[in-house]
């Protein structure tokens, strides 16, 4: 089963979003795309070309974009508000909180260039706190797909889901390996069965979890691989089933340790199934300029870091 987790092409997750929103343009007349001067970066070119009447260029004014999106929902539209993850969350947190979350508006906040893998632009743009901020908002659904295909499917799925959603994706070219798997909001994916440890990952780090599992397999360690694309609501059943079997867990994500997927799972396990656990995440730090893979390695998010975390967790079993 592990051998089947492989890829023939690399694509950015944002490409999956671009493909998804274009499909929605064709199939759902209520879908509106908005952007704050980042149409090209968000891969909106095809949507704009074929559905110009449903594209809204807001300019460099993210707060206004969130408010306009909330207003569009009142008229029955399904707005997809797009920009970089930093400007889509931290910059406009109060607008999201009041006009979208508290008002329970059907706004889809779709954010690219999340995390360290944004690369050379540096820490001003590399948000590593967005999952935490967004999962704390009552009623928000938070999704962090792991490759372009999953991002495409997630984009289609959130249009069918009523309620506010944060969809987080990124910039780097990344292995596309999830074609065999279905996507359902709130349902994690068991990608590989294993008996020794559960590795639970989200976003780009899912691929690192796959590579780590392959290395560990050569050492006789059988890793169960779980992909949690929906950070909230969390698929508690899948996680508890796996961890009750393996009795040991590692989480991996491109996010601060505080407030991320690891935190959500730790809260779940502390309440229901206390288990030795290690977390691969950024340790209370900002990023910096550099190439994506260099940055992942430097900040402890490399394949070797997942391998090391597994060994630490196993030692505590």
């Amino acid at each position: 089963m592990l051998d089947k987790l492989t890829f023939t092409e690399k694509k950015a997750t944002r490409d999956g979003f671009g493909a998804g929103i274009y499909e929605l343009g064709k199939t759902n007349p209520n879908v509106i795309a908005l952007t704050a001067d980042l149409a090209a970066s968000l891969q909106l070119a095809n949507f704009i070309k074929d559905f110009p009447e449903r594209f809204i260029q807001v300019g460099i004014a993210e707060a206004n974009m969130i408010g306009i999106s909330a207003g569009l929902t009142i008229g029955g539209k399904i707005p997809f508000a797009t920009t970089f993850a930093n400007f889509a969350t931290g910059r406009v947190y109060d607008q999201i909180r009041q006009s979208v979350a508290y008002s329970h508006k059907n706004v889809k906040i779709c954010a690219s260039h999340a995390g360290l893998t944004l690369g050379e632009d540096g820490a001003t743009h590399q948000i590593l706190e967005d999952l935490g901020m967004m999962k704390m908002l009552p009623g928000f659904t938070v999704i962090n797909p792991c490759d372009a295909e999953q991002t495409r499917l997630a984009t289609l799925a959130i249009a069918e889901h009523y309620g506010p959603v944060y969809l987080r994706f990124g910039r780097p070219s990344w292995p596309v390996f999830t074609a065999p798997f279905q996507f359902q909001i709130g349902k994690g994916i068991l990608m590989n069965e294993g008996a020794d440890i559960s590795i639970i990952a989200t976003g780009h780090l899912m691929w690192h979890a796959v590579e780590a599992a392959k290395i560990l397999a050569t050492e006789g360690i059988n890793c169960e691989l779980i992909n949690i694309h929906t950070i909230k609501p969390l698929d508690e059943e899948l996680i508890l089933d796996s961890v009750s079997k393996t009795k040991c867990v590692v989480t991996a994500e491109e996010h601060q340790m505080l407030g991320g997927l690891g935190g959500s799972i730790a809260q779940l396990l502390a309440r229901k199934l206390p288990t030795p656990m290690e977390m691969v995440a950024v340790q209370d730090s900002f990023g910096e300029s550099g190439q994506p893979q260099e940055l992942l390695d430097k900040y402890g998010l490399g394949v070797k870091d997942v391998v090391a975390a597994v060994k630490r967790a196993l030692a505590r079993k």
């Binding site: 707060a63 206004n64 408010g67 207003g71 009142i74 008229g75 607008q95």
Partner: protein, 308 residues
Amino acid sequence: MATIQELERIASQIRRDVIRQTHFVASGHPGASLGCADFFTALYFEIMDHDPKFNMDAKNEDVFFLSNGHISPVWYSTLARSGYFPVEELATFRKINARLQGHPATHEGLPGIRVASGSLGQGMSVAIGVALAKKMDGDKKLVFALTGDGELQEGQNWEAIMFAAHNKIDNLIVTVDYNGQQIDGSNEDVLSLGDLPAKWAAFGWYVIHMRGNDMGNVVATLNEAKQRTRQGKPVVIIMQTDMGFGVDFMVGTHKWHGKAPDDSSNRTSTGAVGGNTGRLSLSLRWCHAPLSQCRYINLSSTIFYNQF
């Protein structure tokens, strides 16, 4: 079509409601609520084509957004008096388990409210979103929004103002409650708005002035604003009001921005009384008098909410 005298009578009732609501829970924002009572009355009882049965999507009806959500008492009273929910419910303002939250919210399902407001500067953006949706759907009805003047110090407003002009959002009428006051003092002292009409005009809006505490002028100006829609420009009304208008001891000061009148107050209104001027006679000492002597209000009772 209501006469100006009828509208003034309704505005007086709404002012009484504002005082009762805020007094009852010893909190809330009576100042600008009183100042805007004439505007709200004209909007809901004369100007807007709206449905008190309330549909969230607001299709084929005029729709109003309150950006300066702290003046919720005047909006709640207006909504109740125009049939959105029972007048008796005004007695639950700011109380636990109530739909009438301190600042307007959709969370509890109060009819008439379509988005939460209170954190300032967000309402105009939402109104623009609704105006865009109406244009996309070929819906000819209008979108109205009210902002405070101090609220314009929030940068998001200017994003919205720029956007609306650029995109020719000409089915939108924004009104600014230009009472010159904010929590820490006058606009001039805190952060001057400068030449406000000129700023809006420079951003590409059609600007109209209004005397917000003169019902005849309010109705005429709102009608003029409607005439100016669908001509390629958004419309703004700079509405001059007196904070606290109608209650003499509250008028013209920022002191009653976020402070409710209380029982121990020894103030007595010395101003004109009720009726034609739309002003409200009020002595807080009356709340301790026998009910039969309470001409307008019984501050601690809900019984009189139905008394017009």
